[in-house]
Amino acid sequence: MPERIKHKPLDIDKVKPPKAEIHIITDQCKGCGYCIQFCPKQVLEESEEINARGVHPPKIVDESKCIICSFCTAVCPDFAIYTTEKKCAEGC
């Protein structure tokens, strides 16, 4: 439909974006960078730290941007990253 959209959806704050928890098992990472490269929301970036394998594991830029598509979990060759949804008591 051609109309230009000018107003913020009224129910925008009703939809709670899932609260993600990203777990990085640093020392398991071999630094291939797939999780960083293919994250649809650019949640990750390479860190400066050097892990047990002498590579830079990913670090989280903005966890709130994560929508838990968990592609990083699926594409990691080293089982070094996974995402979970934060279960929070009083509806956060």
Partner: protein, 278 residues
């Protein structure tokens, strides 16, 4: 947050075998990841699962899955698995091996298992070369690719694995790349639920060896190639499922029903015993 935690899929892996031997950016880890992910989705009874592999980097997979597993000799994974499956049809037998192992030294076993429709499931990580031995020419090496044994560019025509599998009689044939993790996982799930010879080819990056000789030094570069070149053409003619710099045809190519060898064999046994009772 960065922390030390256990991966949800770790229960499918032999903790004391981790970390695996594979190089940074190697696709084998993704194949393993998708495979155990599929097991998790299907809630597969691990007691009834046997993972068999042959020689080569990916051959180590058998050792990494927390199941009964057997790491056979060069090219013999399918033949060994045939024995397992026929001896105990209750078992789900999955072969995870490489293009060289399955289609060069083991090529004969592959086509005959497919022809007989033995109920084993084959996942082939195709990295276009013999990685473990340092990157030699293999049955899937693309024309003109440089390997340690084709320094002037490969002049051998590579196998089209999905076409071969379909022609040989496989009842399920698919090809994905390691970037298509979701579809790959779905395909594995689908395959595991079928009865008969199934085949999935996974185009897998080998940046350290194959990539190094072919201007794709990192896994990312190879994965970007997959992303750029892949076209999903499910149930198109596998004969036309090319793999070139420009185009990698992926998708499901065959999904049919056909009585498996073991089923037919046990039907025969039943008939014979009926006869003998009269």
């Amino acid at each position: 947050m960065v922390e030390q935690v256990t991966h949800p899929l770790s229960k499918y892996l032999r903790a004391d075998m981790m970390p695996h031997i594979w190089c940074p950016g190697c696709g084998n880890g993704i194949v393993l990841n998708c495979f155990v992910h599929a097991l998790d989705e299907l809630k597969t009874d691990l007691d009834k699962l046997v993972v068999v592999s042959g020689i080569g980097c990916i051959g180590r997979t058998a050792g990494y899955t927390n199941t009964d597993s057997f790491h056979t000799t060069h090219g013999r994974a399918i033949a060994f698995a045939t024995g397992v499956k026929l001896a105990n049809p209750e078992l789900e037998v999955v072969i995870v091996s490489g293009d060289g192992d399955l289609f060069a030294i083991g090529g004969n076993h592959f086509i005959h298992a497919a022809r007989r429709n033995i109920g084993v499931k084959v996942i082939c990580a195709n990295n276009f070369n013999y990685g473990m031995t340092g990157g030699q020419l293999g049955p899937t090496t693309p024309l003109e690719s440089v390997t340690t044994t084709s320094p002037y560019g490969n002049i051998e025509h590579p196998f089209n694995l999905v076409h071969l599998a379909a022609a040989a009689g496989a009842i399920y044939v698919a090809r994905w790349t390691t970037l298509h993790v979701r579809r790959l996982t779905q395909s594995i799930e689908k395959m595991m639920q079928k009865e008969g010879f199934c085949f999935i080819e996974v185009i897998s990056p080998c940046p350290e060896i194959y990539g190094r000789y072919n201007k794709m030094r990192t896994g990312l570069e190879m994965m970007e190639w997959f992303k750029k070149a892949s076209v999903v053409e499910s149930f198109s003619d596998p004969a036309k499922a090319e793999i070139t710099k420009e185009k990698i045809v992926v998708g499901e190519f065959v999904d049919i029903e056909k009585l498996s060898y073991e089923k037919l064999f046990h039907e025969k046994i039943a008939q014979i015993n009926e006869r003998s009772i009269q």
